[in-house]
Every structure is written in structure tokens, then in C-alpha cells.
């Protein structure tokens, strides 16, 4: 290997190492890493859940949304399991999120010791359009 090639290889290795360091460093911060769980899985986690940033998906419980000034609370369900959510994020909540709709909701945040989930982010998916009823075929 000649001298120039060596210099180039060393330069490249430095860059690669720097990027790897950045990647690993980014993964250490728990705010950037979130574990995807369903409502019932969160309950199985027990006390381990408090340390994790979680992304929980479940169905919005109809009529559970309570707004009070800027506060927002609601409940998501999966089968018989329920999880109370308190929204602490800053972004506007999505359009599909309201008391009338069947929405699948994904909340990101942390479970508190009192069992209430503090969500920083809410994503809502509308129930699949293809399953929705069409108007009846008569007429």
C-alpha cells in the first residue's frame, strides 16, 4: 500500500469512526429510542415500564376525551385493558382525533408511577376506509 492510499484509508476510517460514534451516542439517549408496545403489553412490563420511552398503540375509547383549557386526557383500550393518557406535548393533536371517530391511536411518552401515561406525541389513524360502510345499493 503506498503512502497516499494509506493516508486516504486513515482519513476514511476517522470519518467512519466518527459516524459510528454519533450513531451509538444517539442510541444511548432514551428520549430518541422508543419501544413499541400495545396496551396489554405495557401492563405486563410492570415497574420496568417507568424507565422506558414507550410508543403505545390502542383504540381510542369512545367519549373518553376530556379537554380542560389546554389539558387533554383520554383513554385507549385493547380488549379489556385500558390505559389513561394525559397529553403533555406541544404539537396540535391530529385531525382524526375526536370523540366521534373510531380511531387507532399511537401515543409516545412515559408511564408514570400513578399509572397515567404522559404522552408527548399523539398519532391517530383513521379506521381503514375499505371497511367502512357504503351507502346502501338501493336507488
Amino acid at each position: 500500500m503506498n503512502n497516499n492510499k494509506l493516508k486516504f484509508v486513515i482519513g476514511s476510517l476517522v470519518i467512519i469512526a466518527a459516524v459510528i460514534v454519533l450513531a451509538i451516542q444517539g442510541m444511548q439517549e432514551d428520549t430518541t429510542m422508543s419501544y413499541s408496545k400495545s396496551v396489554s403489553e405495557v401492563q405486563l412490563l410492570g415497574s420496568r415500564a417507568y424507565a422506558m420511552t414507550l410508543k403505545v398503540n390502542g383504540d381510542l375509547k369512545k367519549g373518553s376525551i376530556i379537554r380542560n383549557n389546554l389539558d387533554l386526557d383520554f383513554v385507549i383500550t385493547e380488549g379489556n385493558s385500558e390505559l389513561s393518557i394525559h397529553y403533555i406535548g406541544k404539537d396540535p393533536i391530529p385531525d382524526t382525533f375526536n370523540n366521534e371517530m373510531d380511531a387507532e391511536v399511537i401515543v409516545s411518552g412515559k408511564l408514570q408511577k400513578d399509572g397515567i401515561f404522559h404522552a408527548e406525541r399523539i398519532q391517530a389513524k383513521c379506521a381503514s376506509k375499505y371497511e367502512a360502510d357504503y351507502s346502501s345499493p338501493e336507488i
Binding site: 419501544y35 413499541s36 376530556i66 396540535p92 371517530m101 346502501s136
Partner: protein, 660 residues
Amino acid sequence: MADLGNILLFFLFPVSVFTALTALAAGITKRRGLLEAARRGAYAAFAVTTLAVLALEYLLVTSDFSIEYVASNTNFALPLFYKIVALWAGHNGSLLLWTWIVTIFIAIVAYQHRHKNNDLMPYVLFVMGSTMVFFSILSVFISNPFQTLYQEVGNTLQEFTARDGHGLNPLLQHPAMVIHPPVLFIGYVGSVVPFAFAIAALITGKLGTEWIHTTRRWALTTWGFLAVGIILGGKWAYVELGWGGYWAWDPVENASLLPWLTSTAYLHSVMIQERKGMLKIWNMALVIATYLLAIFGTFLTRSGIVSSVHAFANSGLGPAFAIFLSMGIIFSVTLLLYRRKDLKPDEEMESLVSRESGFLFNNLLFLLATIAVLWGTMFPVISELFTGDQITVGPPWFNNIMIPIGLALLLLTGAGPLLAWRHTSVETLKRSFGWPILGSIIFIMALYAFGIHDGWALGSFAISFFVMWTILVEFVKGANIRRKNSGENFLLAMYMLSRKNTRRYGGYLIHAAMVVMFVGFTGNAFNSETRAEVGEGDSFNLGPYTFNAIQITEAQTENYSSQTLELEMFRNDRLISTISPEKRYYFASEQPSTEVDIYSTLREDIYAVLSGMSNDGTKVIVQVYRNPLVNMVWIGAFIMGIGTLFAMLPNLRENKAGDK
């Protein structure tokens, strides 16, 4: 009409198979007749698909709600324009559009090369034809847009016609969303052309720069379309999604960025091959990677393998894509390994400080960026495979890596063109870099004095200033030399200079556009926002601005009902503007939709969102973002488009003898 569409679409499958197989046979037997037949097959595929698209358009425009696709994506009250563009509003229609673009490109390539490249063309048509076969299978058998509506009556399924359709998703009713998919698709699909020529070169062993020259314009065009498509997607997200930003490192966004990164790397590294005969395998690999990543992007978008806020329906296309992708990877990598001995470099690298090594580091950074984005995007899948937990990495992780890589690349943008080929001496370095570096230092000291203290932002502004300076110097120096020789005035000299080497100066223009966009990206460091619950007469502040809620009004149209908040915006007690964020409720789709209002200047955007109502219904919740420099991103994208077009112009040849 639906039956006709179905029949037409169904024809596409045998026609595609015929094209691919006769092309392959033509390659093996070297018979012109077979090549001619394959070419006709390509034209036929184009004709058949075009008619199928027209048939679907007819159904959309006439609101034939016996067709599931039409009923799911349009309704009677939808404006005609949106009925037409509903072709790509849903999954099945988008796939037909994809397929159609593939057939358009294969027809164009077949026609362009009807008298030339007879040795490469059979395999080019074979590769493009195979892609066509794949997409025709998806369109015809898995996601057919001509599917009729069924309902269960007792134990049997009966066709029926819906009374009205579900309407177009309100989020898609926006001009940027109308052009974003086709533009992006052209970018995605376009990558098949350089790929097909690269594979043809590998198969035939004609590994010179012939395939590169032939596909240069294609590579550049598709690169430009990808870039513009990505930005349009960002623009749409910004204006329509209402969270105040344009990029969130969402899997679907990342999917479009990946092929753009590799194709940008290719556009640079190919210059080394043309000039020095180096990096031949690498260039092949980049072209192959770009194509495979484009397919992968479509797969990611359509399969639902990684959950995304874009929430496309999980369409069950996953396995088909996985098979096609693996076949593509195995086939290309095998070919590349088989030819690796013929792809040895003609020359070796001479110096670390040279144009070549600038390009090499550029490519290394693009490669690392690609791997990082791919890794982050696929991390939920990877982590589930190894730990059983699905772990998502958030935007901070991407920013942590991509901001340094982006700035390093931007720095190279300025430094690279100043480095000489082979070797650059310390003297030249001092001469070319001295003033720009000094200039940028003074520039950021001034910014610091004005109160900008964010380290990354200062770094980014310093680099932007440096790069812009070096680009301007290139234009000015060149124009001055030309002016002395030709006696033209300065502007004409600059124009003539650029026209004589459009690739180089178009490239500089694109670099300048990147600088402008980076200035826009850097604006993110200074974003601020506030949220308030207001009734008529209330007011709140954000930075130097005061907002007064004037009134809350309700209105109704045929398509939706709406609620609007009128805000007066003051700065230092002076009325600047009125902004009116709105919330709509679309009847047909039963979906609410947020219409943001943006007061936009070069300096900053004031972005207001009506995010909801208080429980008693007397007050509304409004969110206001202050986003500095966002407009630079769109302006940069526009310059980039111009630069790309300019780079594609043929070089102007001057007749020296005719000079007077």
C-alpha cells in the same frame, strides 16, 4: 368501461413477458428481428397501459361508483380537477401510475435507441421489460384498480353501485400533493434506465464509458425529479399536516431520500471514471443501489412493514416486493462479481489533497448517510429480529448524525471544485481558500454580535458563506477571463461561459441552491412556538408579535363545513397582517381537516393552526409557530430545478473561425 380497462390491463401482462423474453432472446442470438419484435412489444405495452389509464380516468370523471377505487377515492361533489388526479390518490391507482411511467420510459428508450446501441439494447429492454412484468403482476393480479364493489347478500357476493363515494382524503386536496406523487414516481422509475444500461454493460462486457454517456441525461433528469419530488412532499407536509415542520425522518420520507443520496453520489463519482478511469465497480454499484432503493422505497411505502404517520393501507404486496428485490440483488451482485476483473481502475490515486480525493470523501459521506438513514428507518424491524422489542429511533437520532454529515458535504461542495486534479499544492490552497475562509470568520463574528449564539447554526452559516463565495468566484473569474479575450460585457461573458460547459456551471448552480436550502434548514435552530386558548377579544404573544383574536366564524360549502379564527398580528404595536387558520369537516369522507394559515416572508414564517375547540365551544385552541428562513428551502429547491435543467442543455459550440 371497467371491463375494457380490465381487459387492457390484463393484456399488459403477456405483452410485458413477451417484451422481456424476446429481448433476452435477441441478446443471446444477436438477431435483429427479435430485437425489433421486443421494441414493438415495448410500444404495445405503452399503448395498452395508456388506454387502461384513460379507462380509469373515464370511470373517475364519470363517478362510476360500482368500481371500488372510484368509490373509495372520489365523490359526486368533488371538483373535476381532483377527480382526475384521484388516479394517484389511492394505492391501486398509484401503482397503475407507476406501471404507466415504466411503460412510458421503456417506449422512449426503445425509440431513442432504435438505430444505435444494438449490442446493449436487447439487455436494456430485457431489464426494463422485467421491471414491467413485475409491476404488471402487481397491477393486474394483486392491486387491480378496476375491482368492482361487492357486498354479501345471504351467502353470495353481489356487485353493487354505491350511492356516493367516500371522497378524496382532504389531506390530499392540495396542489403540492397533486404533483408530488407523479414527480416522485418519475424520479423513482427513472432510475431503471441507468440501471438497465449498467446491467446491459455488465452482461455484454462493454464496460467502457459508453453506457455512462448514454444514460447521463437520464440519470440527471431522474435525480432532479427525485429532488423536486422530495421537496414537494415536504412542502405539502408543511402546508397541510399542520405540525409546523416539513421533515420528520418518517420512514416514507426516508424511503424517498435513500435513492436520492446514492444517485447524488453517483453523479459525482462518475466524473472520476470519465476523467481517470477509476471507481468503475463503485459506479456500477451506485447505479444498482439507486434502482434497488427506489424499488425498496416503494415497498416500504406500500407494504406497511414499518409503521408510518403516512398510514398507507397495508396492501399485502410485501411478499411480492421482497421476492423481486431479492432477485434483483442476487442478479446484480452476481454479475458485478463476475465482471470484477474487467472493472480494474486505469489509474491510482495520487494525492490526498486533490479533486479525486474530494470526490472520494464526498462519496464516502453519501454512503454513510445512506447507511445511517437505512439503519434508522429499519431499526424497528432489526431490533425486533434480535431483541424481540420493536424499537423506533426518533428524529433526534437522525439529526445527530445527518447534521454533521450534511455540513461536511456542504463544506466539500465549496472546497472540492477549488482542488486541482491529481494534486493541489499548499500555495494554491492558500490562494484559493484564504479570502473565503477569512470572509466566513468575519461573517459569523458579525452574526454572533447580532445575537446568534447557537454553535451548529454558526457553523452552518460560516460554511454556507464560504461555499457561496467560492462559487461566485468561479463565475466571476471565468467571466473576467472570457471578457478580456472576447470583449463581451460581463454578464454576456458569464452566460457564454456557462453555456459552453453547462454541466460544470449547472453543477455550480445546484451547489448554490444547496447552500440556500441549508440556510433554510439552519433556520430550524431558531424555531419557536406558543399555544393559547382564546375567545373573541383575547390576545397572546410570541416573540415580538402580539396576536388579537378578532372573531370566530362558521361557514358551510357543498363539500365541507368550516370554522375560522381571525387573528390580527401586531409587531411593535403595528398591524402587520391578519391570519385566519381554519378547521374543516368534509362530509363525504367524514374527516376533519386543518387548514393552516401562514404569513410568509423571506425572513420568517408565522404559521397558525386552529387545533381544536374548548369543551364549552366558546373558545378555540390556536397554535402559532415562528419558523425563520423556511422560504429559503423552497427558493433553494427552485434554483436546484433551474440548475438541473441548465446542466442538461447541450454545450454551446463556438465557431472560432467565424469570430469577428
